[in-house]
């Protein structure tokens, strides 16, 4: 870093919240000096002014170098709401390929009509839905003749129905030569056909779908960089920097994204509109709201809890009291569960990403406000991958703005400087699944740290160990007569680091087996959560 390296702000502007930080050179490296988050309706200028003042008031030596802060650069990214589409195809096979790509590219699929003769009234009703951004028709050259003939008949029908609205985009994925009548150029898009061999982020259709989606919902601000694309880049840079397998999980209010990368670069990426923390479907759909309550340990009248969940969607910043936090945790678990389901469904075959990553980096407003141990528990509940992993939290929402830097080298240098400030150690999770049949010797785990030593029996359940940040623990696991993490008959060791939430030893079944009875389920969730809320005035 040169002595005159510039200070700058980062701004991550979400659909519900804005996060801002002030980053400045201090003693030869960049440091994050202040951070804040506020509802999206608050003027970002007020936030930046507040950051500058906080630093100026608390450290006069730094304040001396803060002249002209109003002119400092801003690394700014913005989250967009997921675009909504109605998908149409003349066969279920083509339709499912199309859906796979659009779901992975961050679209919310509001309706699907896969078949030779879709219901006209239902299809027309879907097109007329004012929240719909686009209607998408897919066709393939390699489909059989009958499907191609049906697609040729469906395409003009779709164009006629889309013409009923003046703001609906029409997207053709495949060989549709005929131009639909009455659809202006700026609402008509031609994309590649779905290809069974390429449905991932590197496929041309995936990339085009993501670009068109961002274009349609960017609200006339085409220059704003999408925060999820930027975060994706930062996670890859971080994986290279750490030389580890990094799983970046972002849960925002409107959508979620996930990026898996290792030292060689990105392995997988997806944006999932279905995994947002606060899906608006909850306001209209009782089942969507009850899916949240299924994960809730809050006691009381179910109807009242349903109202509170809906209130959280309407006023995300308001409920920060005890029950509000518990419902927020339930919503986070639900979002993570949907993210994992979507992630699994988009995996092509048996991929190496079935195993847990070394490091989980959490980002997005979904993880804000909750105690670290509760966050670790939500991750363990939602992302049930066997293995041991460290959890870091991008608590100030810096990673996405850093992803806006166009030069990889700059990004890595800044990440190296800022990692300690920006990535909060939440803790570690050792997720084994329930120990197998153990006979008389059920095994044990010995935890050795500079602070304490402990020996725990291997038994199904959840245990939270107080392992502070900066402390590394050595775990010696003796599976006894059973097996654990695929190992039987021999001891093995692991090293894990501490964090604000400690160490979570999770020996619950994979997948979790929640009781079907509402009260039994609530009681079990409450028992699991209890250690996570210690000191939180429950």
């Amino acid at each position: 870093m040169t002595p005159d390296a510039p200070s700058f702000f980062t701004l991550d502007r979400g659909t519900v919240s804005t996060a801002a930080t002030l980053i400045a050179p201090v003693e030869g490296r960049y440091r994050m000096l202040a951070a804040s988050a506020a509802p999206a309706a608050i003027d970002p200028e007020a936030m930046l002014e507040d950051l500058a003042w906080r630093v100026a008031r608390t450290d006069a030596t730094v304040a001396g170098s803060m002249e002209g802060w109003r002119e400092w650069s801003r690394l700014e990214v913005r989250s967009i709401r997921p675009p909504r589409a109605c998908l149409v195809a003349a066969s279920a096979e083509t339709g499912s390929l199309l859906e796979r790509v659009f779901v992975g590219a961050g679209w919310h699929v509001a309706g699907r009509f896969f078949g030779p003769e879709p219901d006209l009234i239902a299809l027309g009703g879907a097109c007329l839905e004012s929240s719909l951004d686009a209607v998408v028709m897919a066709g393939r050259d390699d489909a059989d003749q009958e499907e191609r003939d049906r697609a040729r008949l469906l395409w003009p029908r779709l164009g006629s129905l889309a013409r009923l609205r003046d703001d609906l985009a029409v997207i053709a994925c495949g060989p549709f030569i005929e131009r639909p009548e009455g659809i202006p150029d700026d609402r008509l898009f031609s994309l590649p056909a779905p290809d069974p061999a390429a449905t991932g982020p590197s496929s041309p259709l995936f990339q085009a779908a993501a670009q068109v989606g961002a274009h349609l919902v960017s609200d006339g601000d085409p220059l704003a960089l999408d925060s999820r694309s930027a975060l994706r880049r930062s996670v890859s840079s971080l994986a290279v920097l750490l030389g580890k397998r990094v799983d970046g999980i972002e849960v925002g209010a409107a959508a979620a994204s996930r990026t898996l990368a290792n030292a060689d670069g990105e392995l997988r990426h997806a944006v999932l509109a279905s995994a947002g923390l606060l899906p608006h479907e909850i306001l209209d759909d009782v089942e969507a709201a009850e899916a949240v309550l299924r994960w809730s340990a809050v006691a009381g009248d179910p109807a009242t809890r349903l109202d509170r969940v809906r209130e959280l969607v309407l006023h995300p910043w308001s409920a920060i009291d005890g029950d509000g936090l518990h419902l927020r945790l339930a919503m986070l678990r639900t979002a993570l569960e949907r993210l994992q389901l979507g992630w699994d469904s988009l995996a092509t075959e048996s991929r190496p990403d079935d195993a847990a990553a070394d490091v989980l980096v959490l980002a997005g407003g979904g993880f804000a406000l909750l105690p670290a141990a509760a966050v670790a528990l939500a991750v363990a509940d939602g992302v049930r991958r066997p293995g041991a992993f460290t959890i870091l939290h991008d608590h100030a929402a810096v990673l996405a703005p850093l992803g806006a830097l166009p030069v990889e080298g700059d990004r890595r240098r800044l990440l190296a400087d800022l990692m300690d400030d920006c990535l909060l150690p939440v803790g570690s999770v050792v997720l084994t699944g329930a120990p197998g049949e153990t006979g008389k010797d059920r095994g044990r785990v010995t935890i050795s740290t500079p602070l304490f030593e402990d020996e725990l029996p291997l038994e199904p359940g959840l245990r939270l160990v107080d392992l502070p940040p900066g402390i590394v623990a050595r775990l010696e696991i003796d599976p006894g007569q059973g097996s654990l993490l695929g190992v039987s008959g021999q001891r093995f060791g692991l090293e894990v680091s501490g964090g604000l939430g400690g160490l979570l030893l999770d020996m619950r079944p994979i997948p979790l087996d929640l009781p079907s009875g509402a009260e039994q389920r609530r009681a079990l969730l409450e028992a699991w959560e209890e250690p996570a809320w210690v000191g939180s005035d429950r």
Partner: protein, 356 residues
């Protein structure tokens, strides 16, 4: 450059503005495939004037494309389409013809139409001017004062505003709703239970305005509506607006003052856009809702719906529940008339001094 003395920080910049109350709101009325607009662009509409012929049931109809109809565009009307005996509507007009809108002239030589039955007339919830008429929607620029709600249910409805509850946080029992409220938009306090809602609807109340609404009541209203739709005759329009949200929630005090000032005025609700539009001179209503500079309302948590003056920022604090979040100092008038200073989370405050 940062001066050496702190600036006069305006703490109000960190409070979210309350929903605006404004005139000239553009109201969108969606149309279904078979629906028919009854107005044209530029036309002036009056309160309660029919604007849309809406059909509860829709059916697809196919007829051979002929030279007489091939020039019709999607969304255009086509009447007197003969009903084929094999595909008659379950409940249809006795003329034995369809009234339809064109959906598509298919490449297979057939024109596909959307036919409607079981008509319901949608009335304008406010006077105004029709700005747009498209096959999928009508836009009307409303004249009155528009107040935003959080939850809307039902159909657009009109009536005069009647304050039925004693206070913004009072509940209105069914026994207090009588026939004098027929044709009224009833302001009902924190919420209305289902019994009171049914009674109100039965005696001809056109709409209900509450602070909150319980999700289970919305579900029961939905079931009731479905049963009425199955009946031969369409029910009278009825709608509900909850100004604050879900549950048992008071009407915000500034909106209560506005509604009290609007008592007796003609008004309409548009549940689709969760809007109440009040006719007449907006100035007295805005005066009733206005608050002095610096006034904020606590929108949730301890002290909910309390109004006070935001006098300073408290910085990050730990709140009950264990959350760390920025706080603000507000001064409120206590029951004994003394001024009390409290610290509340900034994120729960909404500023009322910009309500206009």
């Amino acid at each position: 450059m940062i001066p050496t003395t702190p600036p006069v920080h305006d703490p109000l910049r960190f409070a979210v503005p309350a929903a605006s109350i404004q005139t000239g709101r553009l109201l969108h009325f969606p149309l279904r495939l078979a629906d028919r607009p009854l107005v044209v662009p530029g036309q002036r509409v009056e309160l309660g004037q029919p604007i849309i012929e809406h059909f509860r049931e829709q059916e697809a109809v196919e007829i051979p494309t002929t030279a007489a109809i091939v020039g019709l565009r999607p969304g255009d009307f086509l009447d007197h389409v003969p009903v084929s005996q094999s595909s008659r509507l379950g409940r249809k007009s006795p003329q034995a013809t369809y009234r339809t809108r064109v959906c598509e002239h298919g490449r297979d030589g057939f024109t596909r139409l959307a036919a409607g039955s079981g008509e319901i007339v949608i009335h304008a919830p406010a006077p105004g001017v029709v700005e747009t008429v498209l096959p999928a929607r009508i836009d009307i620029r409303a004249d009155g004062l528009a107040v935003d709600a959080q939850v809307g249910w039902g159909r657009p409805a009109v009536g005069r505003i009647v304050i039925a509850a004693d206070a913004p946080d009072a509940e209105l029992p069914a026994s207090r709703i009588d026939v004098s409220a027929a044709g009224a938009i009833l302001v009902a306090g924190v919420r209305l239970d289902l019994e009171a809602m049914s009674r109100a609807r039965a005696i001809g109340v056109t709409a209900v305005i509450t602070g909150g609404v319980a999700s289970r009541h919305l579900r029961q209203l939905g079931s009731s509506e479905a049963r009425q739709q199955a009946a031969l005759h369409a029910a009278a329009p009825f709608g509900l607006l909850a100004l604050t949200g879900y549950g048992r929630l008071p009407i915000p005090a500034h909106l209560w003052d506005l509604l009290v000032a609007a008592a007796g005025r003609p008004a309409g609700i548009h549940p689709g856009s969760r809007t109440l539009i009040i006719g007449g001179d907006p100035r007295p209503l805005l005066a009733a809702a206005s608050r002095p500079g610096g006034t904020v309302r606590v929108s949730s948590g301890e002290g909910r719906d309390m109004e006070g003056r935001l006098v300073g920022l408290a910085g990050p604090r730990r709140w009950p529940g264990g959350v760390y979040a920025p706080g603000g100092f507000i001064e409120v008038v206590a029951a004994d008339g003394s001024m009390q200073r409290r610290c509340v989370p900034l994120s729960t405050l909404e500023r009322l001094d910009q309500v206009r």
